[in-house]
């Protein structure tokens, strides 16, 4: 655009058009963010809760007022300090040794694909890499390293659990979304619209309601799941009290909530794949599986990658559902974060249960930086900053 407008007139138009968005964002998003960074540099807490009279000097008599933290970055030191002690660094090294084979495989696969026009089959490299990692895990006693870091730092264990959660959820989102989308895209299935409508239900019903219903399903005595298991003579586990089963439960609930989004995205992408590609493949005698791996999956990639990155980010920040189902429990011991106490739940508890405003501020800033880089990374897939004219 800008065919007929140049100079200040054009600038004015742009300013007027973008002003509503920018003003809204500045007042209620940008300002809170900056304010939060400010708080993270002070000692504001339950005991120092009043706005400062003189922020530079904490008057020992009026301890109720907050002032700059001593040292200024003290709250950040509290988060990262325990992760860089000598023992912790040694533990990091051990963990790095365990994942090194996987990094190597990723690098090698990319390299091979770049080098040759018809790259050799590399799919079996991954299982091999994983097997080597598993052996190394035992050799370097990685579980001891994790235990050491978890004992040293709440931040580590919360992040560890959250990453584990994301890793456990995303493949299932994709898998279930893909299977259902493939079936619904099959020309010989009848009443597609009806099936699709029913399958979208979990996305459409308010999640705080379904969270409470699932919370009931997973109860030990009265819960529907254990009652059904009882019919088969199985004594179900105490889902929400057992650390591992509680984790499984929140994974299951999140899969149930999220597969419709993937199904819709994949279905949309499937419909844009030209049919003649399959017809040509069929003429060449390609099997169903070959068509899937050579045509469908590669062509789904541009639509699915952003969906994966976006839902990884939202799963990382999951709050409502997990909060209503487990409230971060079951606890592992006094004062330690629970097994399902993921990033946001830990932050919420620091803020509202502990009134540790400054600590929560520093924590929020760290999470923000992490998420920001994750978002920048996702840009590589979405090309969102490009304009229509590009």
């Amino acid at each position: 655009m800008g065919v007929s407008y140049r100079g200040w007139k054009k600038r004015l138009i742009i300013l007027l058009f973008t002003a509503p968005t920018m003003i809204g964002v500045t007042i209620l998003s940008l300002y809170p963010m900056l304010y939060n960074i400010f708080i993270s540099l002070t000692n504001r807490s339950r005991f120092h809760y009043k706005p400062p009279e003189d922020i530079w000097h904490c008057d020992p008599k009026t301890l109720q007022h907050y002032c700059w933290q001593q040292p200024l970055l003290g709250n950040y030191q509290e988060i990262f300090g325990p992760l860089v002690t000598k023992e912790a660094l040694e533990a990091w090294l051990r963990l790095f040794i365990v994942i090194a084979p996987l990094l190597l495989v990723a690098w090698a696969v990319r390299r091979v694909k770049e080098k040759s026009l018809s790259p050799p089959s590399t799919w079996y490299w991954w299982p091999v890499g994983m097997a080597v990692s598993a052996v190394l895990w035992v050799v370097v006693k990685a579980n001891e390293a994790i235990a050491l870091l978890s004992d040293a730092s709440d931040f580590f264990i919360v992040m560890f659990h959250t990453f584990l959660y994301v890793l456990a959820c995303i493949p299932f989102f994709f898998l279930f979304g893909l299977i259902l989308a493939l079936i619904l895209n099959n020309r010989h299935i009848k009443a597609k619209g009806a099936w699709r409508t029913l399958l979208i239900f979990p996305w459409a019903v308010p999640s705080y309601i379904t969270a409470l219903i699932w919370q009931f399903f997973f109860r030990t005595e009265q819960g529907t799941i254990n009652q059904v298991l009882k019919l088969f003579g199985i004594q179900g586990p105490a889902w929400l009290q057992d650390p591992i089963w509680a984790f499984v439960a929140v994974v299951v609930i999140n899969i149930w909530l999220s597969y419709p989004f993937f199904m819709v995205v994949i279905l949309g992408a499937l419909q844009s794949i030209p049919q003649d590609q399959y017809e040509a493949a069929e003429v060449d005698g390609a099997t169903w599986f070959q068509q899937l791996t050579r045509i469908t999956l590669p062509l789904l990639r541009p639509a699915v990658m952003p969906a994966i990155v976006l839902s990884a980010i939202t799963t990382f920040q999951m709050f409502n559902t997990v909060w209503l189902v487990t409230a971060g429990g079951p606890i592992r011991g006094a004062g330690k974060p629970g097994v399902t106490e993921f990033v946001m739940i830990y932050g919420y508890k620091t803020l509202f249960r502990g009134d540790r405003y400054a600590d929560a501020g520093a924590y929020a800033t760290v999470i923000f930086i992490l998420l920001f880089f994750a978002t920048l990374f996702s840009l590589r897939f979405t090309k969102i900053t490009k304009g229509a004219y590009q």
Binding site: L16, S29, W203, A364, K383, K386, A388
Partner: protein, 280 residues
């Protein structure tokens, strides 16, 4: 595509049936609990877990007339509607400009928006509460509306921009050459063409206000007559003796309209949800 064998088709339908059962059982379960006399979710009657055996409307009557449900409904409708209006109207012109105009700082502004989006909302509750307090809006519905519409603003701007990107720019350029002003080009060409994206954006704005729980819980604490539906219902479910029948009836009354709106807009979901411009 070859016609799949009969066995394959049967298997495909079987997968669909199991998936649909899992997808709707939790909602069906709420329906059963709402119809069941008394305040219990559990029934040891196996048939009762899947089919309505005793039917009563007393739970619906009780939640509608003995509880402040209708007040909560009114609050939620008010908040969600205004959130929709605000977030769509605040985002549309910006999204249009980001898609259509070439200017210095455009990319920076877009990345700034993204950066802001990555700030964890729950952890910004304290500063947001502080601003709303200084505006005199803390603990009011207007405060929530303001917080919700700006909270979804980045997503809405992105999504609309992504959709505007897919509309050929030549149409507007032709209009401009014919003497239309940019505002006319936006109102008479851009907006009507972006209808699917506007529908989806409005839907997400509405759901943001309709479903949000934790901010409302923090801001409206202790004022039962100001509660939104999510706050009111979760309070019901967190009582020591949970009136499950009431909860279920209320949950159903909320879910059905949401479901209907969502499903009626679902044909727009595929085309209107651009995931930031991947499509097209």
């Amino acid at each position: 595509m070859r016609r799949p064998s009969r066995l394959t088709l049967v298997l495909l339908y079987l997968v669909l049936i199991i998936a649909v059962f899992i997808a709707i059982y939790p909602i069906w379960f709420v329906f059963l609990a709402a119809l069941r006399p008394g305040q219990r979710l559990l029934t040891l009657n196996l048939v009762g877990m899947f089919l309505p055996v005793e039917v009563t409307w007393e739970n619906f009557h009780a939640i509608l007339f003995d509880m402040p449900f209708l007040t909560w409904l009114k609050n939620s409708l008010f908040i969600a509607t205004l959130t929709t209006v605000f977030c769509v109207s605040l985002a549309t012109t910006g999204a249009f400009a980001f898609s259509r105009f070439q200017f210095k700082g455009r990319e920076t502004a877009l990345i700034l928006l993204l950066a802001i989006q990555s700030f964890p909302g729950i952890l910004a509750l304290v500063p947001i509460a502080q601003i709303l307090r200084s505006l005199g809006l803390f603990g009011t519905h207007w405060g929530l509306i303001l917080a919700y519409s700006t909270g979804t603003l980045v997503f809405t701007t992105w999504n609309l921009k992504g959709y505007f990107d897919t509309i050929p720019i030549e149409i507007e350029e032709a209009a401009l050459i014919d003497g239309a002003t940019p505002l006319q080009a936006f109102l008479q060409i851009g907006l009507p063409l972006a209808r699917p994206a506007l529908a989806v954006t409005a839907l997400f704005g509405f759901l943001a206000g309709w479903n949000e729980y934790i901010m409302a819980e923090v801001m409206l604490v202790g004022k039962e007559e100001m509660f939104t539906l999510p706050v009111g219902l979760t309070h019901l479910a967190q009582d020591m003796e949970i009136p499950w029948g009431l909860f279920a009836a209320g949950a159903l009354l909320i879910s059905v309209p949401t479901l209907l709106v969502f499903l009626s807009l679902q044909r727009y979901l595929e085309s209107g949800l651009t995931l930031g411009g991947v499509k097209g």
